[in-house]
């Protein structure tokens, strides 16, 4: 078990005691009728084994990105716990990652997990060079030798098919697809066990998208990390994932093997989603 999420909830607004019960799929809304708060996440539970690839699919506003942000601790939940493999107290009892100290949190975010955002501007520092961005993560993961860092940066850029001669150029001088690759190189530089991807190819050309996704799949097989991919594109989900969860209004609608979700969807919303494929 690599990751276990228990009853995770996140509410934006004043929050009354009834927000979670008065919103969701059955109510067809994520806005609390009593206090107007927005329920971004409504008691979501799931678990992920090492090396598994999970897809999160749902419409805009369903809570997909919020879930990733909570796992990566870009945000704090209002309720619920997340357990991560190896993160325990000295007796071996698993600890809630939200109770991690600053340094433990840093290890989780810099070494164990990595996040690739939809917009490279959220994952890269445009005041650093491409190489500098990648190096920052390697150093954050504990490496101190300049030579080792530099070599690893060049190796990763080559692996991501970025021109290594441009290692000292700034990210905004690269194309959109290349900026995304710099982000991916940075995310992989610490050899994470869990990679989180938030709509990594939205907005990119079809051929660029195909190349990037093929590369991500290849790297996942090679390096053996687990992945959680958020996408509203069922084609991406089909290509990359082993299991899929469907979200709507902050709730988990259905979870299953990706081929089962696509070929034998059980819930009405899932059936609607699958029938919407072009």
């Amino acid at each position: 078990m690599l990751l276990e999420i228990q009853n995770l909830s996140k509410v934006y607004g004043v929050s009354c005691g009834e927000c979670l019960d008065l919103t969701g799929v059955a109510d067809d809304s994520c806005i609390c009728p009593v206090c107007d708060s927005v329920v971004a996440m409504n008691r979501v539970s799931l678990s992920l084994d090492g090396k598994e690839v999970l897809g999160i699919v749902g419409e805009s506003g369903s809570g997909k990105s919020t879930l990733l942000q909570l796992i990566y601790q870009d945000q704090c939940p209002d309720n619920g716990r997340i357990f991560y493999n190896g993160f325990c107290d000295r007796h071996g009892v698993p600890l809630n990652i939200f109770e991690a100290s600053v340094s433990e949190c840093s290890v989780l975010r810099n070494k164990e997990m990595s996040m690739i955002y939809q917009n490279p501007r959220m994952g890269l520092n445009y005041l650093f060079s491409a190489g500098g961005n990648i190096a920052e993560k390697i150093i954050g993961a504990g490496e101190r030798s300049y030579e080792v860092v530099r070599n690893r940066v060049i190796e990763l850029m080559g692996r991501l098919e970025l021109p290594t001669s441009r290692v000292d150029n700034y990210p905004d001088t690269f194309s959109g697809g290349q900026q995304q690759r710099i982000q991916i190189a940075k995310a992989l530089s610490s050899s994470p066990k869990l990679l989180l991807l938030d709509e990594p190819t939205t907005g990119l050309d079809l051929s660029v998208q195909a190349k990037l996704l093929d590369l991500i799949k290849e790297l996942q097989k090679e390096m053996g990390f687990a992945m959680i991919i958020v996408s509203h594109d069922l084609g991406v989900i089909n290509h990359l994932t082993d299991v899929t969860m469907v979200m709507k209004h902050g709730c988990l609608v259905e979870y299953g093997l990706t081929d089962q979700i696509l070929e034998d969807p059980q819930q009405p919303y899932t059936q609607l989603l699958v029938s919407s494929i072009l």
Binding site: E52, A210, K221, L257
Partner: protein, 228 residues
């Protein structure tokens, strides 16, 4: 004993069509032992492919059990086990040769067939050689090896699909109409391959429409009838 299917049934509920229920199959029971081929026969639309998909967990069943006897001797019910268990089994122990080839348009025929061997850790050169041998045995011309199989004829696609399914056979192999689009010569080659798998103690369940093929290769037959 490799697979023990007991009274499985499936109904599709189409919520976007007013909740209409369509029966997939009902009260299906059979078993397959190592080294045996069970033929699933019956009229078109009776539920044969659905039964195979249910075993592979692409479809969920509403009742019954699908008991799979693993290599290590334990027994797992495929109908209810966790997704993680199914993924592990699919990787190592259960294979599915689908009715139609599903592959990315960017992959060549040779790459598609070599992939299962590479996934097991086989060295690239050896995997490609073995893939080439298998494709040649199934009468695919060498000039097609480096081309996307989606540009091939239906029969050629099927042969690529079968090659991919048998190159690194898992202990249980499910085959959905392996000889459907093939001429006599290609069919008999495929049946020969299946015969070889039997000798390697692979258990197989195959859907066939042609009774002669069934007679040639199957040890047992299970007939699924369409409900009245």
């Amino acid at each position: 004993m490799k697979l023990d299917v007991r009274q499985i049934e499936k109904q599709f509920v189409l919520h976007n069509r007013g909740g209409v229920r369509v029966t997939g199959f009902s009260d299906i029971s059979f078993n397959v032992a190592r080294g045996e081929l069970l033929a699933l026969v019956g009229p078109s639309g009776a539920g044969k492919s659905s039964v195979l998909k249910a075993i592979y967990r692409t479809y969920l069943v509403n009742g019954g059990s699908i008991l799979f006897h693993r290599q290590d001797g334990t027994v797992v019910d495929l109908a209810v086990c966790t997704e993680s268990s199914v993924l592990e089994l699919r990787q190592r122990e259960i294979g599915f040769v689908t009715q139609f080839l599903k592959v990315l348009p960017r992959i060549s025929a040779l790459q598609a067939v070599a992939a299962p061997l590479l996934e097991l850790g086989e060295e690239e050169g050896a995997a490609r050689r073995r893939a080439a041998e298998l494709l040649a045995f199934l009468n695919i011309r060498e000039e097609l090896f480096d081309i996307s199989p989606l540009t091939f004829s239906g029969g050629e696609q099927q042969r690529v699909n079968i090659a991919r399914g048998v190159i690194a056979p898992k202990e249980l192999l499910l085959l959905d109409e392996p000889t459907a689009s093939l001429d006599e010569e290609s069919s008999s080659r495929v049946l020969k391959l299946l015969g070889n798998l039997k000798k390697q103690n692979i258990a197989m369940i195959g859907i066939f429409h042609d009774q002669r093929k069934v007679d040639q290769v199957a040890d047992h037959c299970y007939r699924i009838l369409r409900e009245a």
